[in-house]
């Protein structure tokens, strides 16, 4: 079962819709018990880090997500759901996040002057997952490579540093934002700064490969 975490922010419907389109079993998790049957947890994200983390905490979901990760459940973070996987975020005056990935999410505007809204080219190979220790459960895609374009809408991002280089971390292929992470794979965690559920054919192909 794929559990989509509802932390009271927008866009949950888009993520659930696309998983249903792929014909995978899916539920919306509003409380810790909803995660018990999950083999994959998706943290979707449209919102702000402070309110997102506060709602995870209030709903008792924060510790359940961390426990599930420790027990081997796959975590897929999307956009803000990706950002909260790190140790912290500069958003809302500084927020302590889930700490499942090392690093701090920073304000894009300090580097580029504005938020990132739009499409950028994207390429992903299936082998990136196996090399980084991630094994999808439902993978229905037969192709080995996904190529196309993906949609971004964010004003915070994770700045890549030399230790992040390698197959486990892809940067955004847009000149102004190429110092920031597009996707990170680490063990049973995959984080995507873009919105695969809104990236048309490319997003659908990617999700059918990584879920």
């Amino acid at each position: 079962m794929i559990a989509v975490v509802n932390a009271g922010s927008g866009n949950i419907g888009s993520v659930v819709n696309v998983i249903r389109l792929l014909q995978h079993p899916v539920c919306i998790a509003r409380k810790p018990d909803d995660l018990l049957e999950a083999d994959t947890i998706i943290l979707p994200g449209v919102g702000s880090a402070g309110s997102y983390m506060r709602r995870l905490e209030e709903g008792g979901l924060r510790s359940s997500i961390v426990d599930a990760h420790r027990s081997g459940v796959r975590l897929v973070g999307i956009c803000l759901g990706f950002q909260v996987l790190f140790n912290g975020s500069e958003e809302d005056g500084g927020v302590e996040c889930l700490g499942l990935l090392n690093g701090v999410v920073t304000d894009l505007k300090r580097h580029t002057g504005h938020a990132h809204t739009g499409w950028a080219p994207f390429e992903f190979e299936r082998t990136y997952m196996s090399r980084s220790g991630y094994n999808p459960i439902y993978a229905s895609a037969r192709s080995r490579i996904v190529r196309g374009r993906v949609y971004y809408n964010h004003e915070y991002g994770y700045p890549l540093s030399p230790p992040d280089s390698g197959v486990g971390a892809l940067s955004i292929t847009d000149f102004s934002f190429d110092k920031f992470a597009s996707m990170i794979i680490a063990g049973n965690v995959i984080g995507m700064q873009f919105h695969p559920e809104k990236s048309q054919k490319t997003g659908l192909s990617l999700l059918s490969m990584v879920l």
């Binding site: 922010s9 888009s14 819709n17 919102g47 809204t117 004003e155 054919k201």
Partner: protein, 236 residues
């Protein structure tokens, strides 16, 4: 530059609009979204053209119908969102961005803060239906008051502080092709890289907008006709 499509949604169906005064049925939302997915439009903006005439029941019904919308394309929704209860209803919609008019133009800080908390500032778009007023000054329509007001520095600062992008909607030439009034962008106080043009968009306007470095153009009515669709605008 992104090429988007504006879909007007009212009483459960899509409509074509000419100057926000004459409406013509366009068909079911699901069909329109499916076609726009197929054309790989960059984004879809769903607008309820309600202005001050909106009734609470009407927005509840429309938002309920939008819950069933399915699209693999980024979607933005707006029109009649004037309180926190309306905002909370949008949380269950399959949309990534909100487009708000009265909240920005009437400086409703409480509403905009609530929207930031739920969707994030990067997801907020200020909708500015504009026209050239007396003395070539830019005027914006405040939907909730059903009147045009001058864009003053207070409104500009508020939008810059609490919004990501701005839609300059040419409400005089809305529904027509290639008639967008270029003066609207020239007089606009907003950063062009964060500005979206809408109303009267056609291939020539798109070409000009691209040179001006705007973030996106939103094509209305015609985008659903394949002969006018996305490739034609991209190729300009």
């Amino acid at each position: 530059m992104r090429i988007g499509a504006t879909l007007l949604f009212y009483e459960g169906m899509c409509i074509q609009s000419y100057g926000w005064g004459y409406f013509r049925p366009l068909g079911r939302l699901s069909n329109a979204l499916s076609m726009l997915d197929r054309y790989q439009v960059d984004e879809v903006v769903l607008i309820r053209p309600v202005r001050s005439l909106d009734k609470q029941r009407s927005i509840e019904d429309d938002l309920e119908k939008l819950q069933g919308a399915f699209s693999l394309t980024p979607m933005c929704v707006g029109g009649g969102i004037r309180n926190v209860a309306d905002l909370d209803r949008t949380l269950s919609l399959p949309v990534e961005r909100l487009i708000l008019n009265s909240g920005y133009v009437l400086l409703n800080e409480m509403l905009i803060n609530a929207a930031c908390e739920r969707f994030g500032r990067q997801a907020l778009v200020a909708s500015l239906p504009v026209r050239m007023g007396h003395g070539n000054r830019l005027e914006v329509f405040a939907s909730e008051k059903s009147t045009f007001i001058s864009i003053n520095s207070e409104i500009v600062e508020f939008i810059e502080a609490y919004g990501n992008e701005v839609v300059l909607h040419d409400c005089v030439n809305e529904g027509s092709s290639d008639k967008f009034d270029y003066r609207l962008l020239e007089r606009s106080p907003f950063d062009q890289a964060r500005t979206i043009l809408s109303g009267g968009i056609g291939p020539s306007v798109t070409q000009w907008a691209h040179k001006e470095g705007v973030a996106a153009v939103h094509v209305d009515n015609r985008m659903l006709h394949s002969e006018f669709s996305v490739p034609r605008y991209r190729n300009v």
